[in-house]
Amino acid sequence: MNNELRELYQEVIIDHGRRPRNFKVLQEYSHSQEGYNPLCGDRLQLFLLIRPGPEQVIEEASFLGEGCAISMASASLLTECLKGKTIAEAQTLFQQFHQLLTGDTAVQAEPEKLGKLQVLAGVRAFPTRIKCATLAWHALLGALNEDEDKPEAWVTTE
């Protein structure tokens, strides 16, 4: 196995891909969004429970779906790290994650904010797989912008 593959398929990713955490429908949720990549068939539904209030804290996050190890692991890790974050913090997390994968220079990299999510950095060497890693994240943005008009019922990274 070469280094790029070793970086991509780290044990944490294989583990979360095979046994995704928070893989369920929340009994009670306030926000939900489907993410779908029609070209590859990856599909997931993200559920969030956000208590109304000045802080708008994400109390619970879960998802259901099917797809490759990268998309499932990314969704699983996302739901883990969303718990307890405010909406503003979740949006910052999205930008940081996007920066990690694409090297977007418009965003100042602060890898320490990403914590465990840094295991997905290996995806950067595989441009065709970035859309897999970001699907759940675009679903997150879609869920948070639930009130806005969206042309489709689902969001996509393709």
Binding site: E4, I14, G67, I70, R129
Partner: protein
């Protein structure tokens, strides 16, 4: 130069591999791309159902056309234009002979299979259809043999009917028979499934459809590179294929239509070349096949396609089929030896297409890992989303064979799949 001069076939037969009837190493030498490396590994190209690689002679032919002959066809009263026109029309003759069509007037140059099917949908089927009429397709069709029919069904009130398939991926012939009825205006099916490899018994199906006066379009995109197609024996009313899957360039393909049907059809694209006389009040259309070739055609593409058919003829489609079938048997055995790997598409009659899913890993992960070893396969729904939905899977990995693939390619694929299992253990 004659191809046989460059492919020492018979005399080395048996020394290289008992199953081969031509010298595979010599054939591989004809495809320069097979000599390149990907991630510092030799390229193993197994995505031939998506597009095939091109022999040097096809590339040279296109280059020579642009460097020496380039001019517009059918108009110039000068030497170059005459040369370009003869080369373009000679390719039409080559296609006619290759498919054993009755007349060169039945061979229309289009961009590819997709455009050919759209042409038939708009120029043949649409004017015929009324509410309650039916177009019959099968579960295993490519999107290009579904969506054009959906579009005209929506416009006319006709209904799209879908013939079911069995678990092996074969058309349910009993269901097919019962679905033929007087409201059925056209049967449109693939000869070889791009996702399953199934070779459909189209000759028999055409015969049955004709017994009820139902015309038939055959999607030959996956058949022409692998099987001898004799249009007069087949008796298809329309037949479509793409140049780039038969070792020719992209952007060129063929629609064959029986002359008596084409004569009755009105063109859906107007422009130069497809007319005989134009006034502001009226246009007389050109004769066949030009009526359906509006605008400057893909001259280099059609000449390249002719060159690709020459290449195939020099080796012989029967030889190619024998080679690919032997390799398919070997690859099927090898893939079946992998625990947790399930072949999707196990029809009795198959072309060299191996679709599969693995218990451990998703098709995209399989493809990414194989790619790092220089192995190109396809992962996804193969433009057959309704088929995937029927099978209850989102995606498969697919290895598809061509005349230049060998056992070493299959062995590399096997090694790559074992690597997948190691990573996902």
């Amino acid at each position: 130069m004659n191809m046989r001069d460059r492919i020492p076939g018979k005399e080395t037969q048996g020394l290289v591999d008992n199953s081969l009837t031509f010298d595979i190493d010599a054939v591989r030498e004809n495809f320069p791309i097979l000599g390149r490396r990907v991630y510092d590994q030799p390229l193993v190209y197994l995505d031939n159902a998506a597009t095939s690689q091109k022999p040097r002679e096809v590339v040279d032919c296109i280059q020579t056309y642009y460097l020496q002959t380039n001019a517009n066809v059918h108009r110039g009263v000068y030497h170059l234009s005459e040369e370009a026109t003869s080369a373009y029309e000679a390719s039409r003759d080559k296609v006619q002979r290759f498919l054993n069509a009755k007349s060169r007037k039945e061979i229309i140059f289009v961009r590819g299979t997709t455009e050919a099917i759209n042409l038939v949908a708009h120029c043949y089927a649409k004017p015929l259809l009324s509410p309650g009429d039916e177009i019959l397709i099968s579960t295993m069709e490519h999107h290009s043999n579904i969506v054009p029919w959906q579009i005209i069904c929506n416009q006319t009130g006709a209904t799209l009917k879908v013939i079911p398939i069995n678990d092996a991926g074969e058309i349910e012939q009993d269901a097919f028979t019962t679905m033929l009825n007087p409201r059925c205006r056209l049967l449109a099916i693939t000869q070889v499934s791009n996702a399953l490899g199934t070779i459909n018994p189209v000759r028999q199906m055409i015969k049955q459809a004709h017994q009820q006066s139902i015309p038939v379009l055959i999607d030959g995109a996956q058949a022409v590179p692998h099987l001898q197609v004799d249009l007069q024996a087949l008796d298809a009313d329309f037949y479509a294929f793409s140049g780039h899957k038969v070792y020719g360039p992209t952007g060129i393909g063929i629609l064959y239509g029986k002359q008596e049907l084409l004569e009755k059809m009105k063109p859906y694209q107007g422009g130069g070349d497809m007319i005989s006389r134009v006034t502001f009040a009226h246009t007389d259309y050109n004769e066949l096949p030009y009526r359906f070739e509006a605008g400057t055609p893909n001259i280099a593409g059609s000449i390249g396609l002719g060159s690709a058919l020459d290449y195939i003829n020099a080796i012989g489609l029967d030889q190619i089929a024998r080679h690919e079938q032997a390799l398919l048997v070997y690859a099927t055995e090898q893939l079946s030896s992998i625990d947790g790997l399930r072949l999707i598409g196990t029809a009795k009659h198959k072309a060299g297409i191996l679709s599969f899913v693995m218990a451990e890993a998703h098709a995209h992960d399989v493809s990414t890992i194989l790619d790092q070893s220089g192995i190109a396969i396809r992962a996804g729904h193969h433009c057959t989303m309704p088929l995937m939905a029927h099978l209850g899977i989102a995606a498969t990995a697919r290895a598809s064979l061509a005349l230049y693939n060998n056992r070493a390619d299959i062995d590399a694929l096997l090694a790559g799949l074992h690597e997948v299992k190691r990573i996902f253990k």
